[in-house]
Amino acid sequence: MPEEFSILGKRLPRKEAIEKVKGEAQFVPDIQLPGMLYARLLRSPHAHARIVSIDTSKAEALPGVKAVLTHRNVPKVHPRRKLEYLLDETVHCAGEEVAAVAAVTKEIAEEALNLIDVEYEILPAVFDAEEAMKPGAPLAHIDYGSNIYHGTDLQPVPRCRPDGWLPVEIGDVEKGFTDADYIVEGTYETPMQYHCSPMPRSVICQWTGDKLTCWVDTQVVTRVWQDMAQCLSMPQSDVRLIATYPVGGYGGKEPERTAPLIALLARKADRPVKIVFSREEDAIGTHRRLSYKCYEKIGVKKDGAITAIYQKMITNFGRDSTWPMFILACSAVGTCSMLYPCPNSKWEGCTVITNTPSHAAFNGFGDPEAGFCLERIIDEAAERIDMDPVEFRLKNCMRYGTRGLGLRQILGLADTGDSGSKELDWGIVGRDIDSLQECIKKAAEKSQWQQKWKGWKTPVAVNGPRRRGIGIAIGIHHSAYHLSSAVVRMNQDGTANVMSSFVEMGQGFGTAVAQVVAEVLGLRYEDVGVLLADTAATPPGMGNVGSGGTSSGIAAAKYAAEDAKQKLFSIAAERLKVKPDELEAKNRRIYVKQRPAIGIPIAEACLAGYQVTGTAVNPQPESIIDEKTGKVIHSYAIAATIAEVEVDTETGMMDVVRITTAHDCGKAINPTIIENQIDLSVTMANGWVRSENYIIDQSTGVVINPNMLDYKIMTILDMPKSDDLQEILVESPCAWGPFGAKGMSETAMTTQAPALANALYNATGVRIRGDHLTPERILEALGKS
């Protein structure tokens, strides 16, 4: 019988909704402190250069300038970066920071930048990944000695071959191809993407005595807190980091050098310092999505069985990363391994350092890129044997009990705070994976696939030059169980506050965590206050990465609420003269399960206990073991998307008519918020391939469209009308998620682009293997450009 919930699964309004609609939610740029200075950063115009000399005397002499920093007067430390220092003597990309100034106004700070004289020795630079791999190519990082990233002393990558390639293989891929009736192969590309957070990077730092308070717009509070303490050689106890409402990070609001630099400026000036990046510097000076080039080869039998899969991937790393190699590795152990199990599979990949902006996590973390490639060739394979692409996917997709390619541990994940579990096997999945088939079937049904699909090379409809087509893609993304913790503090009136270092940046964490805590404690939703991301009070956590808000942060909060409940039960048991396990909490009362009339208000137990606090650290390893194999496993959120497009073959314009996404979320804590998150990924993925184009000039390495007029985000007119953007929620509980819930926010990002490309093919008969599905590319593919 399904469990009855009072609060879980309800479409409750967001906790922070009223603050946001009144304009009261305070973001970092909104904070003003008395005596505050404004900082600006000087950025390199060159893609690769050594600073021969830097003269800041004129800038320092400008009235109103209070502090200037260069590589000569900042500590030589790595703020989580693997290749670069806080400020470097060598710059590795156009737009990289060279100096920092704090002044009494933004205008004076800006003027001071113009007074800094820098003499650069320009070094040869390389921007394209394949160019950078050629013998004799310039080194993007001279000190690193190679353009293929293969780890550092601080963070070795033991599985890398000496040439920097990371290989994974099971079975005998050559034999698999020999056994095939047909082989399809091709080279596919995926584009870079700029996070374009609505709020550009912003930081405020204030010193009081030896103590530092920082307001940072970040999604990984504990990591930035640790980094700040480390960069400034301070104890964590003297550093307080607050990230009340970070803004839509989408992966990009990760540690980087700005926060420690601003802290150093504030210390030097002895006044609070604020920086808010301009849109342009946010676009060139933060991060972007990796671009991929993938060679894909699939062997298939006439009956539809896949006999071999070979995937080879080259990614453009940029100048540095907060997650070197991890994103590529997640492509390998995620989409490339787990979507289509095949006994003979081989994957290899490398990541190439270039003189372009650094890359970071970005919605999907390697799975959208891998999925955009794999799901296009899967379509080609289905066509080769003339099988319906829905049927082909149903036949071949991952099922419970099947083994994927993934290894035990592809990288040493320990330094990330991942559980780094000894026995974690990425190649095995739990029973919940079978939602893959359910998602495919539900998306097909809702989108009327059967009625619309008329066979290969037959569009859904033809109206003069306008052709309508339909296409499918499926996707997975792991639901991370990172190290995290939570505290639930009971108050004297029977209400509770949950404290977590996870953030509310729009994804609904604050709402969902309150719903879970209220459900566990038998409180009302409004009885649970949420305090997030203030290191003075909130316990450590990995932060909002890897769709881990639910599966890590909320899981910890659930255990903490249960801990608090047990303490309340002990107090109540004594008063009611029963054993704690005879009790239940509901409707703000603790009562005897068998005799509900006998009980006390939760408030009474709180008052009697005076200080009742529940705590927990997640994950709890015993809860993440697969019943069949006894192995510690990962869980994946699943999506299937069917897209319908209409293409004007004269102009190349593609209208996206309808998108249907069926999405497994384990258990929907708040269905509305899950639908919000699906819509986010759908829209962002449409932008990724339809309109957003992060253009790096290939002769100078300069980003030529760092603004929101030329870098085009999907508008409300570019997306299907409301009835034609369908989200179907599927609940296939995860064994270790809170009430079975999975982290689901990123999976819908993986399925959109290939579904559009496959629909485009059905409409027009041309396959685009390149990175964008823009009108120019469509016309080019149609031979009309």
Binding site: I18, V21, K22, Q26, P29, I716, L717, M719, K721, L725
Partner: protein
């Protein structure tokens, strides 16, 4: 060299403010930094996103592209002035955004709400297509457009049923 200072009076949310401004200061900067009305957000500062939208004499205007000096003698409405000043009750558009989850990160929300208000002032009974047309200049990076349309249509219905003044 110091820039010339001008003294102006700005009428914001029915309050008059006498201010000293420099000629190049934008309305967005003055609202946020001089008046502390930080509910007005700036996402791009170059007219590319609609986040900084405020109403000037009931028309939606990008405050990042408007000089404060131009606004003398005009009525400016920001998100802080949307709720009923007497009772504090939310405006129906705000209520709809709360009830229908019209926001994710919340940065585009004030601009969306004010643009929607301008639409509903002129057209109390818009179609979905008209709502989309009106909001075409407001970027939501969180892709919440479907819910935002739902919010505006729900608000229109609430306003038609109530006695809300424009």
């Amino acid at each position: 060299m110091a820039n010339e200072i001008y003294t102006i009076t700005l009428a914001v949310n029915s309050d008059d403010y006498q201010l000293e401004v420099e000629a190049q200061w934008t309305l967005a900067d003055v609202l946020r930094e001089k008046l502390g009305l930080t509910g007005t957000k700036t996402m791009c500062n170059e007219g590319g996103c609609g986040a900084c939208t405020v109403l000037i004499d009931q028309k939606p205007v990008l405050s990042c592209l408007t000089l404060a000096l131009e606004c003398e003698g005009k009525n400016i409405l920001t998100i802080e002035g949307m709720a009923d000043p007497a009772t504090g009750e939310l405006h129906p558009i705000q209520t709809a955004f709360v009830e229908h989850s019209g926001m994710q990160c919340g940065v585009c929300t004030p601009g969306m709400i004010l643009t929607a208000k301008a639409l509903l002032n002129d057209n109390p009974n818009p179609t979905e297509a008209e709502v989309r047309e009106a909001l075409a200049g407001n970027i939501c990076r969180c892709g919440n457009y479907k819910r935002i349309v739902e919010c505006v249509l729900a608000a229109a219905e609430m306003m038609r049923g109530g006695n809300w003044n424009a």
